[in-house]
C-alpha cells in the first residue's frame, strides 16, 4: 500500500515541477501581486480616516452628544463598528484604524505613533464648541503600524494556496479522468484511498514548497516580520491547505468535464477570494456577508495567519480558526472520498 501511494506521490510531484509554466506561475504570481500593491499603496493614496466605534451608539453620553454628532458628520471619515475594546485597541495599535471611540462612555483612544491618529483626534476635538463643558476623556495606545502590504501578505499567501489546491487537484483529477488515466489506474491494484492520499500528499508538498519560497522571498524584499511562532504558522498553513485540497476532491470526485470543473472551481474560488478578507477587511460589511465568509476555509486560513504574523497570536488564540479548518477538512475529505469514482458513471 505505502509503495503504491509513494509512487503516485512521486509521479504527481514530477508532473508538478516539470510543468514549468504552472510551477513558475505558482511562485511568480504572488510576487507580482505583493510588488504591485506595495508600489500602489506606497503612494499614500488613502486619504480618509478610519474610526473604530465600540459600545452602543444609541446610548451616547449626554455631555458629548453634540461633539460626537459633529464628528460623525465630518467628511472623509469612515466609522467602523468594532467587536470589543480589545480588538479595537489592537487595530489602533497596528494603525488599521486611526482612532477608537466609545460614545456610550465618552472615551476615545489614539495612537501616539500615528500621525493620522493625531489628526483624527484634532477633528474630534474641533467638534466640541464649548470647551468649558465636559468632553471626551482621552487615552492612548502603544503599537507599531502594520502597513497595508504586511496586512495583505497573509491573504495573498492564502489565496495562492487556494488556487494551487483547488485547480492543482480538482482540475488535474478531472483531466485525468477525461483522458482515461484514471480508468487505466482503476484496473491496477491501486485503491481509490491510496490514489487520493497520494494526491493530497503531493499537493501538500507542492504547497509547502511554493509557500515557503514566496514567504522567504517576500520577507527578504519587504522585511516582513512574523510575530508569532513558525510552528503555529506551519500548522495553520497545513490545515488551510489540507481543507482546500479536500474541497477540490469533492469537485473532482465524479466529473469528467474540464469545462464543468473549471466553472465549479471558479464558482468556489471567486467568492472565497472576495469575501475571505484577502484584499480588504469586512469590518464594515453587512452581517450576512460576514456569516457567509465564515463558511470558507480561506477566511479561517487568512484570519489565522494574520493573527499569528501581525499580532503574534498563539494556537490557543486562533483555536476557533483551527477547529473550523479541522472540521471542514474532515467533512470535505469524507464527502470527496465517498463520492469518488474512477470514471464517469456507466
Amino acid at each position: 500500500m505505502f509503495k503504491r501511494i509513494w509512487i503516485i506521490f512521486l509521479s504527481r510531484n514530477r508532473e508538478f515541477y516539470r510543468d514549468r509554466s504552472g510551477f513558475g506561475w505558482n511562485i511568480i504570481f504572488p510576487f507580482f501581486i505583493i510588488i504591485g500593491f506595495s508600489l500602489i499603496f506606497n503612494q499614500n493614496q488613502r486619504t480618509e480616516y478610519k474610526i473604530g466605534v465600540v459600545g452602543d451608539e444609541n446610548k451616547i453620553k449626554k455631555e458629548i452628544t453634540l461633539q460626537y454628532n459633529n464628528f460623525r458628520e465630518s467628511k472623509f471619515i469612515e466609522f467602523l463598528p468594532m467587536e470589543n475594546i480589545e480588538s479595537g485597541k489592537q487595530k489602533l495599535g497596528h494603525h488599521r484604524i486611526d482612532l477608537l471611540i466609545d460614545p456610550e462612555h465618552g472615551v476615545y483612544w489614539k495612537s501616539e505613533s500615528s500621525p493620522k491618529s493625531y489628526h483624527a483626534e484634532k477633528i474630534l476635538q474641533a467638534g466640541n464648541y464649548r470647551p468649558d463643558k465636559e468632553s471626551f476623556i482621552a487615552g492612548t495606545v502603544e503599537g507599531r503600524e502594520i502597513p497595508y502590504i504586511e496586512w495583505l501578505f497573509p491573504g495573498i499567501l492564502g489565496m495562492n494556496m487556494m488556487f494551487s489546491a483547488l485547480f492543482g487537484v480538482g482540475y488535474a483529477v478531472v483531466r485525468d479522468r477525461r483522458h482515461g488515466v484514471l480508468k487505466r489506474l482503476s484496473v491496477t491494484p491501486l485503491a481509490p484511498f491510496e490514489f487520493l492520499t497520494a494526491h493530497i500528499m503531493s499537493r501538500m508538498f507542492a504547497l509547502f514548497i511554493t509557500t515557503s519560497i514566496v514567504y522567504a522571498g517576500c520577507s527578504l524584499l519587504y522585511n516582513f516580520e512574523n510575530r508569532g511562532s513558525y510552528l503555529s504558522l506551519i500548522l495553520i498553513f497545513s490545515l488551510g491547505g489540507f481543507s482546500m485540497i479536500s474541497l477540490a476532491l469533492i469537485i473532482a470526485s465524479r466529473s469528467s468535464s474540464e469545462e464543468f470543473a473549471g466553472g465549479a472551481l471558479n464558482l468556489l474560488s471567486w467568492p472565497m477570494m472576495l469575501l475571505s478578507e484577502v484584499w480588504f477587511s469586512l469590518e464594515g460589511a453587512r452581517p450576512w456577508v460576514k456569516n457567509v465568509a465564515r463558511l470558507f476555509p480561506l477566511t479561517h486560513l487568512t484570519e489565522g495567519v494574520r493573527k499569528i504574523m501581525n499580532d503574534g497570536a498563539s494556537l490557543y488564540d486562533i483555536r476557533y480558526n483551527v477547529i473550523a479548518l479541522t472540521v471542514m477538512s474532515v467533512l470535505f475529505l469524507a464527502a470527496g472520498s465517498i463520492l469518488f469514482r474512477w470514471r464517469k458513471a456507466d
Partner: protein, 294 residues
C-alpha cells in the same frame, strides 16, 4: 484443461442499446482468443465487463474456475483501446510507476526488450509516435507478469509497418505461454494471431471456433471482386450472395465457372475482376450480411 476464463450469458444494456446480449465463451490457457466484430458490436463492452470496469446486468465470469477476486487485478494485464498516461513522465518512469502498483512484478529489462523500448526509454511519454505508444501501453500491460493479457484493439490507427511490428511482439508474448484476449476488427490480425475466434455483432456471438474451422465451415467456394460503375447489371446477372463494399461488388459463389459465364452474358465489364479463396472477412459477411469495416 480448466479454462483460464469462462463467461456465461453476459448481458449489458445501456439506455436504448443492448450492448451485450447473452455472450458466452471460455478460453483455454496459453491461447490467443480473438473477439472479432465491427465497431459497436459489443467487443469493448464485453472486455470492460471482464476487466471489472463495467458491471454486467447479468451473467457469470469465472477466472480459473472461481469468481474474480482481489488477485484478478494482480494477475491480469490490460491494454485499453485509447488511454492517456500520467503526464511529464519518461517512458521508463511510466513503466516503473505502473510496475510498482503491483505485488507481482515482471523483469523490467525483459519488458523493455520484448516491447522494443530501449531507444525511447528516456523520452517524455507524450513525445513518442503512435506505434511507440502502443508498444509502451503493451509494455505497461506486462509489468505485473500477467497470466492473462487483454488487448483491446491494440493496432487501431497504426500504419501497416507499426501494426506488423506489434503483431510480432504479441506473437512473442503468446509463445511465452501467456493467454491473450484480443479484440480487433482487422481480419488479417485475427488470422495471424488468434487460435480461437468469436465473431460478434449486435451484442451477440454469432459463431466461435478456430480461424481454420470457421473458414472450413463457411468459407467454401470462391469470392469474385469486381469494380464496377453499373452494379445493378452484376447483381441481376447472378443468383448467389452479392455484397456491395464501397465501389466494389463481391460475389460469393460455389459455382465459379457458371457465375463468370452469367456475368459475361449479362455484359458486365470483367476487366477489373479478381478471384480469391474466402478469408475471415468473407466468413463474417456470410454470417452477418454486412462488412466488418462498417
Amino acid at each position: 484443461m480448466t479454462p483460464i476464463l469462462e463467461v456465461s450469458d453476459l448481458k449489458k444494456t445501456f439506455p436504448g442499446v443492448k450492448a451485450v446480449d447473452g455472450v458466452s465463451f471460455s478460453i483455454e490457457p496459453g491461447i490467443c482468443f480473438g473477439l472479432l466484430g465491427p465497431n459497436g458490436a459489443g467487443k469493448t463492452t464485453t472486455i470492460e465487463i471482464i476487466e471489472g470496469i463495467l458491471k454486467p446486468d447479468s451473467g457469470i465470469i469465472l477466472y480459473r474456475n472461481e469468481k474474480r477476486g482481489k488477485t484478478f487485478k494482480e494477475e491480469v494485464g490490460i491494454q485499453f483501446q485509447n488511454t492517456e498516461l500520467p503526464q511529464y513522465l519518461t517512458v521508463f518512469e511510466t513503466l516503473k510507476t505502473f510496475r510498482t502498483l503491483y505485488t507481482r512484478k515482471a523483469n523490467l529489462d525483459w519488458i523493455v526488450d520484448v516491447c522494443h523500448l530501449t531507444e525511447i526509454l528516456n523520452r517524455d511519454n507524450r513525445k513518442i509516435s503512435g506505434g511507440q505508444k502502443q508498444r509502451l501501453l503493451l509494455a505497461i500491460a506486462l509489468t505485473n507478469d500477467p497470466e492473462l493479457i487483454i488487448l483491446d484493439e491494440p493496432t487501431t490507427g497504426l500504419d501497416p509497418q507499426a501494426r506488423r511490428h506489434l503483431w510480432d511482439i504479441v506473437k512473442g508474448i503468446k509463445e511465452s505461454g501467456r493467454t491473450i484476449i484480443l479484440t480487433t476488427h482487422y481480419m488479417e490480425e485475427a488470422e495471424i494471431l488468434c487460435d480461437n475466434i468469436a465473431i460478434m455483432d449486435y451484442g451477440k456471438i454469432i459463431d466461435k471456433d478456430s480461424p481454420e474451422n470457421l473458414l472450413l465451415k463457411y468459407g467454401d467456394g470462391a469470392t469474385i471482386s469486381i469494380k464496377s460503375e453499373t452494379p445493378e447489371k452484376i447483381i441481376n446477372a447472378v443468383s448467389c450472395d452479392v455484397y456491395k463494399i464501397e465501389d466494389t461488388i463481391e460475389i460469393h459463389t460455389n459455382s465459379l465457372n457458371e457465375c463468370i459465364q452469367n456475368l459475361a452474358h449479362a455484359g458486365a465489364d470483367l476487366s477489373n475482376m479478381t478471384v480469391r479463396t474466402p478469408n475471415l472477412e468473407d466468413v463474417f459477411l456470410k454470417l452477418t450480411g454486412h462488412t466488418l469495416r462498417a
